[in-house]
Subunit: 297 residues, 2 copies
């Protein structure tokens, strides 16, 4: 079991739908409301509540346990950043593992690179099936023969890997419930073992604005395994605070040791958020975020 001291620090978040607005509330402090046209899908899987809404402005919205996972309008930010930043920092990436990511957004972006194999290990097959039905990019992504779908526990899956992947992408939900184990040093140790020499782990690491104590704890866990971990940021309007962080944790690799100028030139025209200026610019952290990531620095 993970060292999950930070579980108690997670501000309680809850979402609700009143027939007109889907509202996500952070512990009685702040609310984000998204205007809904109709509820398209609702089910309770073995792991969580899954819903898809049609909204007035954000396209379709996926929620898990009543928390915003993605909207069609701004998912590109999260998926482009979590995928292209690590993949362009490695000379010849071939094999990628995605833990979580059942919506196939990271897989979609990863498959734009000249990889031979993308493994996506999602615990809840129902998430992928709901997304396959409702989001346009999923079926083409699933049809790519380089993608291997595994439905199972990412922690178990990683335990069996050794120097197998150039990049491991942790595309998880918040550090509560089923996903808590994906934020522990024990798990990061297994990820480090699963990486080839020179490989990179990236992970979603919450908002530095309103979750700064969680960010501090998550980076403490990562740093115990990857001492050179660095954070990068992006703007995701439908996530709490609108500012999101991700970790770049290399096995013998720092974010700016290498940058593939040939591949970025090919990728940029198809990106709506990512471009080469962000490969350095996104690592320029505001002071409050630096302090959240490493209070001792």
């Amino acid at each position: 079991m993970p060292d999950s001291g930070f579980l108690m620090q997670m501000p309680e978040q809850r979402g609700s739908f009143d027939g007109e607005w889907f509202v996500e509330e952070a512990a009685g402090r702040a609310q984000l409301g998204i205007h809904v046209r109709s509820l398209l899908h609702q089910e309770t899987s073995e792991y969580q509540d899954i819903a898809v809404y049609d909204t007035s402005f954000f396209g379709k919205l996926l929620t898990l346990d009543n928390l915003v996972m993605l909207t069609e309008r701004d998912e590109f930010v999260y998926h482009e950043m979590l995928t292209h930043v690590p993949l362009l920092s490695i000379p010849e990436p071939r094999e990628v593992l995605i833990i979580g990511g059942g919506d196939c957004g990271c897989a979609r972006e990863a498959l734009r690179h000249p990889l031979t194999r993308v493994v996506q290990c999602e615990i809840d097959e129902r998430v992928t099936r709901a997304c396959e039905h409702h989001f346009s990019w999923v079926a083409p992504t699933l049809a790519d023969s380089r993608l291997e779908l595994v439905f199972g526990d990412g922690i178990r899956f990683v335990e069996d890997q050794e120097e197998s992947f150039d990049v491991v992408i942790i595309d998880s939900t918040d550090p509560v419930g089923a996903a808590a184990g994906l934020f522990s040093s024990e798990f990061y140790q297994q990820v480090a073992r699963a990486l080839k020499p020179g490989g990179v782990m990236v992970a979603q690491t919450e908002s530095p604005h309103w979750g700064s104590r969680i960010v501090t704890e998550v980076y403490r866990q990562i740093r115990s395994v990857f001492p050179g971990v660095e954070a990068f940021l992006g703007s995701v309007p439908t996530y709490p605070s609108g500012c999101w962080s991700w970790a770049y944790a290399g096995r013998d690799r720092r974010p700016h040791d290498y940058f593939d100028l040939r591949r970025v030139a090919e990728l940029e025209p198809g990106c709506r958020y990512y471009n080469r200026s962000l490969q350095t610019g996104a690592f320029a952290l505001p002071t409050f975020a630096r302090q959240a990531v490493d209070p001792s620095a």
Copy 2:
């Protein structure tokens, strides 16, 4: 009168307070809710409705015409970025003009530089007086003998200036109503005349996410006077989308022509957002924002 074609493109925003939540809604699309403990101040001035709330999480909140202007929790982002980015890009700034900025946040930050004179021209004295009563930084800022308070129309004030200022900061409300004239090429022409050679205008320029057509129009107006204008971004959670843009428009000066390493070393310890990495990092725009700022690029 300004060429205000973009007025019609401004999504209707409106705020309301139900006794528990202050909710700002963008045209039936999205809502930001801030939990309120109590309403501290409410008045209708000659120009607008002014209110100050005590909130559960964001400290005090200032609204004008029921739109969020600042909260104690995140105002540092806006004020540090709008002030330190231009001031550190000039070798020896001495005189600064702030148009708007009645909450004195930009003046507070500007006075941390070795200036001889800061003129703040706010149209609505009641904003400054309400803030003086409710926000802790205002009285010390007003007490600084280098600050000259002018209560009047910024457009008129600028018309009378010629090569008077190293930096002009446009700290305005949205481009509707009284502030619309502050987003016109005619006004920017006057600002250019008010700048000393090598001087810089900075201006708040809305969110590139949800106001991209407005951003495009504002930059078109600025570019007609300052061809080298560039945008920089920051994360303000209580503004629409959480991502805000500002313009850097130099008279014979580009953002990275100069950077004062001695002064930044003195300033950084007192900043919560700004640090030297952002002097370049904040100009690294995501692709969608680049396209909003200059669709022809």
